[in-house]
Amino acid sequence: MNAAESIGWWGVALGIFAGALRGGTPFLLVSLGECLTEKSGKINLGLEGTLLMGAMAAYAVSLNTGNPWMGVAAAFGTGAAMGAIHAFLVSRPKVNDIAAGIAMLIFGSGLAFYLGKPLIRPSAPQLPALALGGWSNLPQLQAALKLSPLFVIGVVLAFFLSWVFRATRWGVRIRAVGDAPAAALAMGVSVTRTRVTAIILGSGIAGLGGAHLSLFYPGAWTEAISSGQGLMAVALVIFARWQPVQCLYASLIFGGTQAIAPALQAIGISQGYYLWNASPYVLTLIVMVITCSTKRTLAGAPGALGTPS
């Protein structure tokens, strides 16, 4: 705290910057997963459950194998399994995406809390940090630049997905299925199979966000490990206009907003601490109020988003 005070308001800026990198990573991964899912025309509102399951599985596997990277793989696999349940449900007739998402949210968080009970005490091996701050002699900056390897994976994934959607056959198929399923079907693309694949992979990516939570920052398994990052995924994707690279910017903004309250507290300003905690949600609401309209569809929204298949 003293060190933070010595650099004054710069400490706040640095805290927010560090928060953007650390706290933005789960936002980034869930929003990329949601973006992939929504590009195919389906919504997954249950990514909070997926995130918690991913966090729990990553922690458990890292604890039992001693290898955090096995934990990351487990998080992806668990997320994908959750996605498979969601995909199975929403590809049935008359099942509403949103309702299925809420069900998966309750189920996923319940299962994660249930299976995670024995994991609350022990401490699992953590992911190594990529320290990029060696050039600076400011300890705060060095701490801020200790990057999560999953953040790097997320950044690469954002650009990769953007390329996939733009330039690959598979990406075009996903977009076609999301924009005009009837036309895609007429072209011989299996709508159901494409959507199921997109949902499963998207959930797997969201599961990686859980691995960041339990294996890097905050770096322990508790039932309060996620503060709604998974729920925010849907809002983030709207904010990012269904563009993977913009998901990256949106996640950094949200991670930074989340860090305002702790950063202010570190320099001794604790008034409104709890109100500041609401800032990511208020920010999302404001952005949606400004950008949405009753007159037109949002630019970039997949045409068939949320319609029954």
Partner: protein, 391 residues
């Protein structure tokens, strides 16, 4: 679909990730009878869809029980023993049934917060936020009315709770109708805003300095609390819930207001063409739904906690969503389903003590029930025994 000024043949473009969500049960389902059929015969043949509408959810709950049994068996608990314990802890004796009813009361009210807007095609899941907002408004009012008589204070608290929750969800509805903001997402966000507001108030401006371990507001005057019905342990919140539910049921099924709302839920374009003011009806319905959840918050404050603290956000809002879905958004089944779920919630303690199953078991079970119910939605019309025979 109100956001697409295009022709009917155009693909339903969305102004938001979820265009109008019309879960199957929303629209009144008339039996597919040929126009030439005589009226009495139509009435006589309506029972099959009605049986289907009861059999499928009941079957889904049964399937969920079986799945829970399998889950318990894999965890080393005897499934039959677990079921017996749940039954004993929830419906086994008058004492335990009172526990069940205590939990059913807020569930009835929060379920209405999803069920009422669902009738006009809005998927509002801001129940938890509305409950917290209502509870906060009721607490503030109750503390301000400490000098008045209990009746004045309680009436003011009921009104404040309903207005607080109603405005909270009303904002969600207004954002939807005037700005095209998706109501599901804004409702979710508003939940977090409400909880942050609650934490801010009970940790700061409204904090009772003597509440050390669990920051809370000052307690309400003892005599102003909501009492119990007769000599039972069940507080009047249950009556509030049942009355609200019955009023909502009459309003939705037997008034022109309800007919208009159901018409909007069935086909919003047709409702617009018919000259209904969709936004006004939508806002009123959202307000009513929020008022129900806000009343639940008032009841939790005035009958259970006696003050506001973070116990208000205990998950009744999210469980209410489940109740609304299982009851297919209908007024009367909500009471039944809320009592059932209340029973399951009431048995959480015994599962923990007797079977060493963590409290999250109940959450897992809720999830399984919800998934099974959704799966059963896709089975409508799949069973020939529920089909009307062609005349």
């Amino acid at each position: 679909m109100e956001t697409t000024p295009t022709t009917a043949s155009a693909p339903p473009a969305a102004a938001e990730p979820t265009p109008v969500i019309v879960p199957v049960p929303l629209s009144p389902v008339p039996a597919p009878t040929p126009a030439s059929a005589p009226t009495p015969a139509v009435a006589a043949r309506r029972w099959r869809p009605a049986v289907e509408a009861v059999a499928l959810p009941a079957g889904a709950v049964l399937a969920a029980l079986v799945l829970l049994g399998v889950f318990c068996a894999t965890q080393g608990a005897n499934p039959l023993g677990v079921f017996k314990a749940i039954n004993r802890a929830s419906f086994g004796s008058w004492y335990s049934f009172q526990n069940t009813l205590l939990r059913a009361a807020p569930l009835i009210l929060t379920a209405l917060c999803t069920a009422l807007p669902a009738r006009l095609g809005l998927m509002v899941i801001g129940n938890e936020g509305a409950l917290v907002a209502g509870g906060l408004a009721a607490t503030i009012t109750g503390l301000a009315c400490a000098a008045f008589s209990p009746w004045v204070s309680l009436t003011a608290m009921v009104l404040a709770g309903m207005v607080g929750g109603g405005l909270w969800v009303g904002v969600v509805g207004a954002l939807h109708y005037y700005r095209g903001v998706n109501e599901t997402i804004s409702g979710l966000l508003m939940n977090y805003v409400a909880i942050a507001l609650l934490n801010h108030l009970v940790n700061g401006p409204m904090r009772d300095p003597s509440s050390l371990n669990k920051p809370s507001t000052h307690p309400l005057v003892e005599s102003h609390l909501l009492g119990s019905i007769g000599d039972s342990n069940v507080h009047y919140g249950l009556i509030f819930g049942i009355v609200f539910c019955l009023v909502a049921w009459v309003l939705m099924e037997h008034t022109t207001f309800g007919f208009k709302v159901r018409m909007i839920g069935g086909n919003i374009r047709a409702a617009r063409m018919a000259g209904l003011s969709v936004a006004r009806l939508g806002l009123i319905t959202c307000f009513l739904g929020g008022a129900a959840a806000g009343l639940a918050g008032m009841v939790e404050v005035a009958a259970v906690h006696g003050r506001a603290n973070d116990s208000l956000a205990a998950g009744y809002g999210y469980a209410g969503i489940l109740v609304a879905f299982v009851a297919r958004f209908r007024g009367l089944p909500i009471i039944l389903v809320a009592v059932l779920l209340g029973g399951i919630l009431a048995s959480g303690g015994i599962l923990q003590r007797q079977f060493k199953l963590p409290d999250a078991t109940i959450l897992v079970f809720q999830g399984i029930v919800f998934l099974c119910i959704l799966f059963s939605d896709s089975l409508y019309g799949r069973f020939n025994c529920f089909k009307e025979k062609a005349a």
